[in-house]
Symmetry: D2
């Protein structure tokens, strides 16, 4: 048994890799630091089969927006991150006046660290039904796009895979773009509630707090899919693993496995770690994301 | 302007009709009264085009289970009504060990009198995902059917018609039967929270607290659809109308219209009437319905 | 049996009276209409025993802020009404930098039309615990007051009268002012969600959706009490009564009673009337009130 | 800086101690194992100043009921644990037909692992208001006690200490006994959701997920206080600490501190560990506790 570090952040996947090697073919990284606002934007592009294998992620673009103060109730930083997120969405998709977008909020609304996606959908200014009935009259002139929202729930409540529900709804309502929002698992507590990952590859198996069997992506849905995620939990096993890293340095591979096997019990694998103030943080971040989506859709 | 009495109960539609005529072709009615338990079961079958027109309801079977004590927290009566409901479902559909059923809870979960459907879905023992993954092992021997549940939400939150979402999910997951649960509008406060209507015609336009454009029925979904509804509200306009009936007796048609036009303001039409204890009553009734569904699906 | 019109609005109590008489000793009324913003402010002051008896209200000042658009999602009008409310609170109490205020949200959080008070408390920027621990450092310079909040719940959930809980908490924490927020019953659907009543007499028996036995006021709490209320329901019986007014004109007192006795059934008395969109309206109005409280407490 | 293991369980505090010493004066322990039902009951009595200091707990009786299957949805075990809990409450307090008991649910209802207390209160059959108004008529003959319930909320929402609110309410309503229910922090994930601790010492500083400054006990409230707690979280720091124990064996005290100082970051201290299915588990356990309280209060 090898202990596998679980992370949904391409940024972290790459860090893991860098520990062993200096450069990685087929993976390009650009970083931009906005010093005044203390916002770091990292663009990881996985361009080859090889890169994808090495990173354990699909080929595509992963943009990470990091702001240390994002977990704080500072309205300024949230507005600025919303704007960065809007720009990022516009880079990935060409929005126009009549864009039709379906936002899907994955996760379990009743467990706070998993409720980010549903909260985002609840914050949105849904317009599709108004436009279908009355056209754009009655809407704010800037919001003439068709926005719809779906909270598919979790298998234990529905008996269905999220993907099945989304596929059905997409086929029926035919949006031009699907944005999937989900709470993610990070490798490091350092990134919790401070990082937004936006990717044109959707959401992938084994990701997040929930556990989706198949990718929710352009291939499975037939329309472009952008995934937006914020890490809100770390696996309990990961926390312990990371604390052990230095201790295990003198050990060989086999000794490490034995050591981890003892330390990381099966029960620990059913636990997650989350900040004590996750309730308020997730609510705040859900507004940052919904605002970013609104900004991306508005035209001047 | 003619004031139209709005009711979702076939029972009441027929009462309205009886006021003017003694018999109605193409509509048969059977009544059964369980004296000991004080439960009245009425089966209204609309068998012809004419009958359907006269009743303002689709052709099909409408069974109404009435129990005066159903609005009370008396566990005995709730169990008995669950059993009647189960029997009624079995009369309308042949369930077998491997039945696959999707239960759809219509309505707005955040407005109590409209939350009946969502509450019922939350009470269900969902099994479809377990059977798909592990087969029937691990399940109670009596519960080997595939049960799934969907809460489509309301247009103002999703931007989509409930029908669109249900159509998509049915096409994707192919249940053999859909059961749609909804809060209904009654004509009389006397029936609120005391009556369950079960029909093999699904749910129809203008019904309920919400307002669905198109029928959610076998025609639109491609599989049999059973509708279960409990009246939880009365239109405010109806209350006033009914209070007026005696007063208007001496008036002619035209005078009546003028009188009602003055009394029933447009604003009154945006209001509904509901019992002060609707919160607890809806919760209790949701268990009666989910229990009835479980009983119908269990085999001996 | 005489049918008693139930209203919590002093404005409406006076209207009822005016129907019979032209002027009322001991009750003064001032009205102010802000034409541009379409906000009407009415100040009813009950100054004598006689006036109090005639109005069925305690002696004191009742200010009513009415705005037709208040039930709409127009941010402009909500901001303006918040400002009017703040001014009104300042007229009733002299706030200073170190004011300590307890806001009590009455009502049942689980039944939307009754949830106004709890929602307002949930919106507040609570500071008392911060100031007790760290002083005013770390707070926004304008918010140096001690604000605390209490949601006492309803008797059916707590087994206690709201007054008992509030008395206990006030004795223990000694705020200089208590603001009690509650959903009210109006006489007319016309006023629902469009009217805010502010009074220096607190909240009184028979008021609101709930039913408090004893006044929550300066006399029972030992500190000044301001009541803020918004009508969100009308008794179902009242709706019917009002529709009958013209019909009953030719009848004498005795005939009227007989007529109403028939029309207004005991069951109707357990029902209330509320707008279909009460869910969103109450949420919006709760922000208008909490914002008004914040503005009143801020110093320049 | 010494890393202090945080546990609210007397059982665990003693285990910690036993690691260093064989016996502890002033602390008596009795254990009882119900083999058939696999329920272990441990009674730790701290009888002296010395014992209290060594254990880091107040003098008093701490009963722990452990059942491995308690985290499972097995109704049988829940009923049996409810009965053990009832017996335990009866051992600590002499209930009679007219007992008046206030149950206080501590914690934040919006964060699932902290919501145990509020959930328990919501499950109770509250009777005090009925008895005050109608006497015992209308009540089930077995439930003639006065039961009231309070959910004081958390400081961030109320601006008040839970103790202040409880003191006020107790002074006003004068129950003969207060039962305080809270989610606890355990030292080991092994005990999460499987252990109930009942103590006649109330709830103490630094306990639980929240952080109460002063004890909620007979001394502060003036009436006997029984605390009921279930561990639902473990400090993230504790998980890491425990994983380190073997690694640190060869180190001396000073080296250990240095080592832990590096490994257990300040940020880790703001995190907690909780099972992924905590949502359902906490709901189930809340019923086990409320049922136990009901059983203790019923007379034959």
């Amino acid at each position: 048994m090898r202990y596998e570090i679980r992370t949904d952040l391409a940024l972290e996947a790459r860090e893991g890799y860098q520990e062993a090697a200096e450069s990685l073919r087929g993976v390009s990284v650009e970083e931009d630091y906005d010093e005044q606002r203390e916002i770091r934007t990292t663009r990881v592009r996985i361009e080859s089969e090889n890169g994808a294998k090495a990173m354990g992620k699909e080929q595509g673009l992963y943009v990470t927006i990091e702001a240390v103060n994002l977990s704080q109730p500072d309205e300024g930083i949230h507005r600025e991150v919303s704007e960065k997120l809007a720009q990022c969405l516009k880079d990935m998709h060409v929005f126009h006046e009549k864009s039709s977008v379906l936002v899907v909020g994955l996760g379990n609304e009743k467990i706070t660290p998993d409720a980010l996606g549903p909260y985002v959908v609840r914050n949105l200014h849904i317009t599709r039904h108004i436009i279908r009935e009355y056209g754009t009259s009655g809407l704010d002139g800037k919001m003439t796009f068709e926005l719809s929202g779906l909270i598919p729930g979790v298998s234990a409540q529905t008996g269905m895979e999220s993907l099945e529900i989304i596929q059905g709804v997409v086929r029926e309502t035919q949006p031009e773009l699907v944005i999937v929002v989900d709470a993610l698992a990070a490798r490091s507590t350092r990134r919790l509630s401070r990082t937004i990952q936006v990717t044109d590859t959707g959401i992938h198996p084994g990701s997040g707090v929930g556990n989706y069997r198949q990718g929710i992506n352009e291939k499975s849905l037939g329309v472009p899919v952008i995934g937006i995620g914020i890490p809100t939990v770390v696996d309990a096993a990961t926390i312990v693993h990371d604390a052990m890293v230095h201790v295990m340095e003198p050990l060989n591979e086999k000794e490490r496995e034995a050591f981890l096997g003892e330390t990381i019990t099966p029960q620990l694998r059913t636990m997650f770690v989350t900040p004590k103030d996750v309730d308020e943080t997730v609510k705040r971040l859900s507004f940052t994301i919904s605002e970013g989506i609104h900004l991306a859709l508005q035209h001047e």
